[in-house]
Symmetry: C2
Subunit: 338 residues, 2 copies
């Protein structure tokens, strides 16, 4: 066991999307465990769009990460030292362990024990973690698609979006993905099985393109972006449509609040429902969701991509890269050295 | 039985709120009934904000009224001639009979038979009609308030709003009304029992006033306005809030779509639900809603006001008057001459 723990801490609070300079690398001594604690060696750190919100001082669903604190993040690893009976050495866990090589936990920061030993540990942070669970539960609990309905997905080639599109297809829906650039459009069609894929960067009239791709209207809109993409979808909602508000990736800052076309008329005329989905509200259903996702994965019915960066020093700039769209798949930091 | 039927027909399609000049008065002969038809003598014609949408060419939840056609409206009256076994002479009915003294129906335009013979027929168009039913079902089916929660209502002194506020109070909620002008604020407090009433015309910072009036946040927002009033409410939604989108009275025109602060962040962070309510979707629950409303009315627990104009010639200008806020109560046209 080494004696030092490499960490990425928040150095300055960003105004908008966090950049590399808002973080700093540090080393901290490994403190001895007290009773009820265990130590996790993180093998993968997660990089997620939601992390922008975790460092924002604007009202949010969690306390902002404090200056000088280890950056909050999902991570997956193995228990390497334990004084907790439920987490013996060798147990694989996924949880909010932060951007650091070693984390101490009393169990409360654990989200799941990772028992799918036939599947790679990295999957527990993507298709079997935040992304896959969000896609499955957001779609089924809030979107409630019925076979034959049309499901539209924004950031359709992203880690959540690609899973939503495939799950909707597995549930018998027609799927339309909206993404940016020809490479991602190809990925949507060839790899993720969308019935139609639209390039918001290339379409001169995205609203007309959505209308053409959805002749029966949009029954479920899984919204990861807000902004101009959503403005093009809302007018084409079907009667009784459900909009899953899962992310707002296209909005760089909410302070001051950005303006856009008002949505109330669409919601009223279509008797539509627009509802927010937050992963942490649905913890009771995580294991059931992972079981279903893992079965699809084993059967080869669910494809996913990982975008793995090596070394903790890659973490500070990795969130900004997500917002630039430079990744093709779930972005992870792999840690291998001490 | 007279031989002529006085009618108000749509003459020109308004761009925005319909004014008197968009209508014309006409007389049509009373045609003989065919088998399965009956004739209703309308004693009250309804004037509702939703009628703006019924004459709009912009996409809507019903086919627009055609030029030269009798203006679509709710009305209440009595069957005066019948060749339909279910609608004998003397039966009182409420339905979509149009702005005219006599209407021919085969039953499909009937919304309810009015059997509350101890209560005035005019109530079947207000507190026991569109307004009361909308308030009760919109609040209970979409808003789903729990005792102890805070319910905020826009157009709080209006025919729907005043009913929502009182029903929420009867269900054990804390109620906050938003209305315009000191007279309506007084009405909210003294007559409709709101715990707090805010004057959007007088408040220099309506958002701060909403925050102060709702220290636990807004659990249910019954939205009859959209626009600036809603912009002041959305930031104060509680976790898990429900927004009932029932009307958009503050928006004069949706073509081109008006802009305002984007709502997605509030919906996501608060895991709120925003859903449209349309009266006609809930026909199966009308009788149960009226039964409950009528009981409250008989027990003196539900107050309502009527703003009655005499004579069909008042109808053409009556919608615009609603949007100017000149009425204090449910606006009706009473017909008494032949």
């Amino acid at each position: 066991m080494p004696t030092l723990n490499r960490q990425i801490r928040l150095r300055a609070r960003p105004d908008g999307i966090p950049q590399a300079e808002h973080f700093e690398m540090a080393e901290a001594p490994l403190e001895p465990l007290t009773a009820g604690q265990f130590r996790v060696r993180n093998d993968y750190l997660s990089v997620d769009p939601a992390m922008r919100g975790w460092v924002s001082a604007v009202g949010n669903y969690s306390t902002p990460v404090g200056l000088g604190e280890v950056m909050r993040s999902f991570a997956a690893g193995e228990v390497v030292e334990s004084r907790h009976p439920d987490y013996p050495v060798g147990e694989r866990v996924m949880g909010l362990f932060g951007w650091q090589r070693y984390a101490v936990s009393d169990g409360r920061s654990v989200i799941r024990k990772v028992r799918e030993h036939d599947l790679p540990l990295s999957a527990s942070l993507g298709i079997l973690g935040l992304n896959g669970i969000t896609a499955y539960l957001g779609l089924t609990e809030i979107g409630q698609p019925k076979a034959g309905e049309t499901v539209v997905v924004s950031t359709a080639a992203g880690s959540v979006g690609a899973a939503v599109g495939q799950i909707a297809k597995l549930l018998g829906c027609r799927t339309v993905g909206i993404t940016g650039g020809p490479e991602k459009v190809d990925l949507c069609r060839a790899e993720f099985g969308y019935d139609a894929a639209l390039d918001y960067k290339a379409e001169s009239d995205l609203s007309a393109a959505v209308a053409a791709a959805c002749p029966d209207g949009v029954h479920v809109y899984f919204d990861n972006t807000a902004g101009a993409v959503s403005d093009a979808v809302h007018p084409h909602l079907a009667i009784g449509a459900r909009v899953v508000v899962c992310g707002t990736a296209s909005i760089a800052s909410w302070d001051p609040p950005p303006v856009g076309p008002r949505v109330e008329r669409h919601i009223l005329v279509k008797r539509a429902r627009m509802q927010g989905f937050l992963f942490f509200d649905h913890a009771a259903k995580f294991d059931a969701a992972v079981a279903r996702l893992a079965d699809w994965l084993r059967a080869g019915k669910l494809r996913h991509r990982e975008d793995i960066l090596d070394g903790i020093e890659q973490a500070p700039g990795a969130i900004a890269g997500l917002y630039r769209g430079e990744n093709l798949g779930k972005r992870l930091i792999r840690l291998t050295d001490a």
